[in-house]
Amino acid sequence: MLRRPGGELATRPLHFIWIADCSGSMKSDGKIQALNTAIREAVPHMQRVADENPNAHVLVRAVKFSNGAQWHVAQETPVADFRWSDLTADGTTDMGKALTLLASQLEIPPMSERALPPVLVLISDGQPTDNFKKGLAALMDQPWGKKAVRIAIAIGDDADRDVLQQFIGHPELRPLEANNPEALVNSIKWVSTAVLQAASSPASQVQPSVSTSSTGASQSQTIGSASSPAAPPPVGPVAPASPVTNVPIPALLQPVATPSSAADVW
């Protein structure tokens, strides 16, 4: 058998990033404990999905935000090696700073162009106390920020659903509602399994139609010789297009968990 042509083969990286609200309000009613438990319990399910999709190399990280934003898990960790260490809650809700921090990691490099669209999961129980729009703009300025699968989980009644909807950026997808610990566990599990599964082997998505010049000259690029660089293709006026979901988000089929008592409702 002849030696295979080409360089090293590799599976495609799939970055999965938790973005967790650790503000003071998350201390009340066991919310931060429920979040820690939910993510910890989701890890084996993520590992199972990753095993079933070996061509996607799932790499997990986490950002936390309260007073400012920091990486809770800074190193992109293969899901097989991922272990969750508990978050604690205190302070304000600097969600904008969290998105700015995230944006810097979605640049190319360190991201690769051949990566699978990353999955970003924003979990919050309140309203941002900093410049959220600036942070969102920074995120969406990055090609991978724009193409990421963005999911949001609203914990309790006080979560700012408008802000979470802006993060999601797709009119047909809504923030998941987690009004009690069971619902939070279900939402976290769904994101960790169904969404991860869908993101692991996406199909090609057709670009929205683009109006271009109708003359032949606008389409053809003539190269005088094999080595001369080609001119960039002319770009005609771009028709406004509806957002294209890169990864079709599967429906959340599990029933919403009902709380065991009124005290369990956030």
Partner: protein, 314 residues
């Protein structure tokens, strides 16, 4: 006195075309068909052009017949380009209107072929139900408006003559040329929209207007490449980086020169399967046009340039 036969041993360059397509490792696991397609043609008279076409069906929930769309794409592309050459329509390849006409005809033929397939085999409720299950009820409306969405596919074409190479590409995938000294280049302009698995397609509005075109005129100063490769994106996505993928060009040229095309053909499918298994998991298709020198037999009468010897592709 024996006749003196004057001989002149000469070499001549011939183009040969080949390729392979394998079902992706992920598609095997999910029991999906190979959604790529490849086709090539050759004429036997030595002066005709060679045409190679590769296509990649999108495979999304609403593109549930994209494996058929890909097969129709390569069939239509090869037929249209061959006909254009046969009708002397591409004598001057820098005639932009002729190139424009060619791309529009390919798209129109594909749309007609899709319409015919749909007429013979209308959508079944089971197909629509599966699409709805995967992508939601919203999938039915766009399909009702534009049924060709179900057949969506990319398309890449390379055609070589004695004087030039013509490259057409709609959607993702890669076209590479390899010079005789193993320098690998991309002859087509990039499309910055093709990022994160998004692609242009035969099923979109003004598909022909989104075709990228490349042309290489050959001369003594700019000789033809030794090798041209067209592949679907499953192949490039299987390499750790772009440099690793580009090395396919130089490595394959060396293998072809040292071992010959039959030996490469024997190994090609297993290489592509390995790439999919250890890399992207996607269907992987690679077509090649190889320009080799052959030694002509010594005859007292000059021989015409030998044609390549290949049959019609899948």
């Amino acid at each position: 006195m024996p006749a003196v036969i004057e001989t002149a041993a000469t070499t001549a360059a011939v183009w040969q075309v080949s390729g392979a397509s394998v079902r992706g490792a992920a598609h095997l696991r999910r029991r999906l068909p190979n959604q790529d397609a490849i086709r090539w043609s050759a004429s036997g008279n030595g002066a005709a052009p060679l045409v190679l076409a590769v296509a990649d069906g999108h495979g999304s929930a609403k593109c549930f017949r994209s494996h058929i769309g890909a097969r129709l794409a390569v069939m239509c592309a090869v037929r249209v380009v061959e006909t254009a050459f046969g009708n002397q329509e591409l004598i001057d390849p820098s005639d932009l209107s002729a190139i424009d006409c060619l791309t529009r005809r390919i798209v129109a033929e594909w749309q007609s072929a899709v319409s015919r397939d749909l007429w013979l085999f209308p959508f079944e409720e089971q197909e629509l139900a599966l699409a709805t299950q995967s992508a939601g009820a919203d999938v039915r409306q766009p399909l009702a408006r534009r049924p060709s969405l179900a057949y969506g596919s990319t398309l890449s074409v390379a055609a070589v003559t004695e004087s030039y190479g013509l490259y057409l590409q709609l959607g993702d995938g890669d076209t590479l040329t390899v010079s005789p000294d193993s320098h690998v280049t991309r002859p087509l302009p990039e499309d910055p929209r093709l990022f994160a698995d998004q692609t242009t397609s035969l099923c979109m509005d003004d598909a022909a207007g989104n075709v990228r075109v490349g042309l290489q005129r050959w001369s003594a100063e700019s000789p033809p490449p030794a090798l041209i490769l067209i592949s679907t994106d499953g192949y490039a996505n299987s390499f750790k980086d772009d440099q690793g993928f580009l090395r396919v060009g130089s490595d394959l040229l060396l293998l072809l020169q040292e071992e010959g095309l039959p030996a490469v053909e024997t190994n090609l499918e297993s290489w592509l399967e390995e790439a999919s298994h250890l890399g992207s998991g996607d269907d992987v298709t690679l077509g090649l046009l190889y320009r080799s020198s052959v030694s002509l037999s010594s005859f007292p009468v000059a021989q015409p340039l030998l044609a390549s010897v290949l049959g019609v592709g899948r």
